[in-house]
Amino acid sequence: MNSNKPVTAQVISGEKSGFTLGPLQMGPVCCNPQPVIEVENLSLRYGDKTALDKVTLDIYRGCITALIGPSGCGKTSFLSAINRLTDLIPNCVIGGRIRVDGLDIHTAESNVQALRQKVGMVFQKPTPFPLSIRRNLSLPLREHGVTRRSEIDAISEQVLRDVGLWDEVCDRLDTVALSLSGGQQQRLCIARALALNPQILLMDEPCSALDPIASGVVEDLISHLRGRYTIVIVTHNLAQARRIANYAAFFWVKERAGHLVEFGRCQHIFESPTHQLTAAYISGARG
């Protein structure tokens, strides 16, 4: 199975398929789970509507963790709580504790810009800015203090190569990013997140707005990023979760609030789930 291949093998196969990844920054640690995001008793409310109730979950370094479950069970809310995008939503109240790399993200001294640099995010709908491809990448870089033109160009080229977009766009970096196809736009968004050199990537159904071919390309890309980045991906596509994830977390709505039902290795969740609800959802009997 794809997810059990050692990472080195993936890099080699990656080169074959046209992706050229840089040297690995983090080893293949999936056999030795080391938590990088620790979520303890996370509760999340929008006004008086509870979206998540007491979720406790560890995300392991270098692995792909898939969040699965029906719509409205709080997967996206969970994701946006990790990089504090929930701050932008009025009336959103968060309880519990989230630690990224051992540091509580909600303390007074934690810097939200630095957190979001470390924890990148890719949305369901591709959201390139209506600027040039070049400026899409340079704008966030400048914001994080990279101002030398040569450095920006080098990073841009590197991340565009990482997402396999360089050959497609290298001669039209100054055209507006909205002229790219949906799949290219989504890969540009991934590149934009990678440019900030994050440790963690949060992906909210990154393939669901794309056609099957573009979706396949983005999916391949995501599994190639394993090991270099810790990836948390929300997906409604169970087959996709099964193909790419190392770990899976199954969420369910109980008493109109999202709960974590089961978390474990992907193989375990899909082949021998402990919980009846999980089994029913996986087999398509519920949800």
């Binding site: 990089n83 932008l88 957190l115 995010m121 040039s132």
Partner: protein
């Protein structure tokens, strides 16, 4: 069968009727504009010359030109925009980006702007006279007039800019935040360039209102038709000149027509220039570095 046929005929006629009404409405609007333009051209084109544009008026405007009046008009406009634009656009940014739609503060600010927009210009004139001319001691001057106009165009500038910023989809704000960009940087580098066409449209509406203003300037910038020496001199605006020529000066019809023609041409030029400027600016900000 017969019923269905009758219904089809009814739909057919209804369709045609709507079409006719739509075209009639458009034709009426065009006709009004053309009528004004033709009237102005017929009455004023003969009087128009290069000298008319650069000479100062003589004999209460019956002879000479409108050079000094054009200078005063442009100065008043520059003062008004210079004072109003920074205020308006920062207020709009605050209302659209930093204050929620339901906050008390936002509602109060918006409501005051709406009231301000509905105040008749003569009231602005009296206020300007009392506050800028007398209380601040600026007298009848281009500065007083410009500042009064700034108060007048503020509501238009704020509401258009706010609408423009609000029209930018939230997904851009979210992705910018997810990339660790601060709100200020998002506003300056992303939202303002995207909203630029709306900002420009608001600017043009503001300029239109300011250039056409007569009543408010009567009490503030005065109607001295000499060439202004400084911003503290009184200066007669073009619209006021037209009013004076057509109301108070027997035999002033031809220069009044010519001045009105210049005013319309000036507005057209400002429109085209601003549009080009925005297009260029947006292209530079969005496509290139």
């Amino acid at each position: 069968m017969l019923k269905i046929n009758a219904m089809r005929w009814r739909h057919f006629y209804l369709d045609r009727l709507v079409q006719v009404f739509v075209y009639l409405a458009v034709l009426t609007i065009c006709a009004v504009f053309l009528w004004i333009l033709i009237d102005l051209l017929r009455g004023g084109f003969a009087h128009l010359s290069w000298n008319f544009l650069i000479e100062s008026p003589r004999d209460a405007g019956r002879a000479g030109g409108i050079g000094s009046i054009l200078v005063s008009t442009i100065l008043i406009l520059l003062v008004a925009l210079g004072a109003a634009l920074p205020l308006a656009w920062t207020t709009a940014a605050l209302l659209a980006e930093y204050v929620s739609t339901t906050s008390k503060f936002g509602i109060v600010v918006r409501y005051s702007l709406q009231v301000l927009a509905g105040v008749p210009s003569i009231v602005f004139g009296l206020f300007g006279n009392a506050f800028f001319s007398i209380y601040l001691g600026l007298g009848f001057s281009i500065l007083s007039g410009g500042l009064t106009l700034a108060c007048m165009v503020l509501p238009i500038l704020v509401s258009t800019a706010e609408a423009g910023l609000r029209a930018v989809p939230d997904s851009y704000r979210l992705s910018a935040a997810a990339l660790g960009m601060t709100r200020a940087a998002t506003l300056i580098h992303l939202l303002l360039p995207i909203a630029a066409p709306t900002l420009a449209a608001g600017l043009l509406l503001g300029i239109g209102r300011a250039v056409a203003e007569t009543a408010a300037l009567l009490f503030t910038s005065g109607y001295v038709d000499r060439m202004p020496g400084s911003l503290l001199d009184s200066g007669r605006a073009l619209a006021l000149h037209i009013f004076d020529l057509s109301m108070n000066v027997p035999g002033g019809d031809a220069p009044a027509y010519a001045s009105a023609l210049v005013l319309v041409a000036m507005l057209l030029c400002i429109n085209i220039f601003a549009m080009k400027l925005v297009q260029n600016w947006q292209r530079r900000r969005t496509i290139l570095e």
